[in-house]
Amino acid sequence: MLDQLLSKHENRKLIQYRDTSMTDTEFSERVNLLTGAIPSAPERFYLIATENPIELYTILFAAWKADAKVIFPTRDHFQGKKIFPHYTHVIQYNDEKIQITENPDFTEVEAMEKIDFDTIIFSSGSTGTPKGIVHVKKHFFDNARETASAMGLSGFTGITMLKPYLMSALSHFLVHYITESFLIFSDFDHIDSLPEILEKNENCSILGSPMHILMSLAKIKPNYKPAFFFTSGDFIYKNSITSILSKFPEAVFFKVYGLAELGGRFFIQPVNSSMAPELIDGIGNCIEGMEYETREGQLYVKSDFLFQGYIRNGIFDKSIQWHATGDIVKTDHGVMVLAGRSDDEIKVGGNKVSLKHIEGKVTEIFPETGIAVVPQEHPTLGNLICLVFEGDCGIGRSELIKKLKGKLENNELPHKYYTMENFPFTQTMKIDRKEIGRLLKDLKPL
């Protein structure tokens, strides 16, 4: 599929970042030009050291075409932290030309030479030890093709504020490429430029994390008509979706289940404003080429598109056939819905509670407010449940507790309430609950 895409020569826009855009033809020409400048050898691993999506994807496609192996950067890399030394060379643009330099700190990964792979992408590196996820490029294309097919759309324009080195951003780019669509990249810290971009692009769709989408809403004029919203990765709750669709009733909301470590999307649930409310929570339809089953409530997935394995702490772990997602699912009104994480349960006063489950219920009361439910350890009393609002929840403590009591079981009622001006995020723009938990000591409870 790589050659097929690169043989297209059309003068329609394919990708844009800030003031630079490229057509299909320009992208193919640039890739073909770069391909000859990237020597391929089994022992060579290239770190693509750029956050510019046009640069990253032209280098990536050129490296793939040259059958070279590449490693994506992480946010930590751009903050000057050297946390993952398993690349032999750094590759980047310098004055429109490719510059390749050796990595003096290179260290080998055990047993890596036996693995068939060409690409390593990282899961979030800011919440713990970064995990390199090992892939072959064909799987990215297969997954993107099936995702595009499940969406059933083509020739659209979308904007995302995701960093291009994230699995989700790569998937968006490939889906756009395959469906002859136009993908605009912007930066989250330039969110104020969103109205201007939308003004220039009719029916532009918004793609990204739930938090990206929620924070974009205030920037979209009420009479604007986004074709669709597309979010994946983290939970987005029914009330948030219905609230968005009540403002933009002609849009479709693609609620997508995918995990970076799986290498793409697994389930897609298109939601429109006329959909029965009880169906909105559904995880959606499994895309072609994927299989799933549940074991003791936990979702397990399997596919030929999946990753080859992980690199963690310099050691390669081969992928197993059935992958435990850590997500708990249940059947509700005849559809499969997410019901929390297998690892987010804490014991409070002898009762097990799922923090995600509580968060979901609280979001039903405050659908457009950033909310995190995190644990805090009391020095003598054990685990506490803390509810944290991003910004002001708009009501007093007493009124808040009354509202929560209407939704939560007695054992789910938080013990402490906080507000935080801005939530910290992981590099994949998920709310960084670990960091919030760490910051609680500096905040005054409500």
């Binding site: 006063g349 009762n351 009393l381 009354k402 009591k405 007695n410 054992n411 009622l413 013990h415 409870p445």
Partner: protein, 86 residues
Amino acid sequence: MAIERAKLINKIKGEVETLAGKTLTSVDEEIFKNDFLDSINVLQVIMFMETEFSISIDPFDLTLDTLGTVNRIVDYLETKLNNNNA
């Protein structure tokens, strides 16, 4: 500076009634009996006391003798706050 007992009573009574979703008939009514508050709410009451009055409650003080009624909670709070101010 010492907080007036009436203010302490109002604060504790308000929190207890909010948590219960019911109104107390008197400040001497047992709050963890007769389906007023569940024992699971003890933690909420303690956390409110600790955060609102910047005190730390000794686990050995966690008995119905200290926390069973609004009046007894306020007695306990006055003792803690006086000790802190001493």
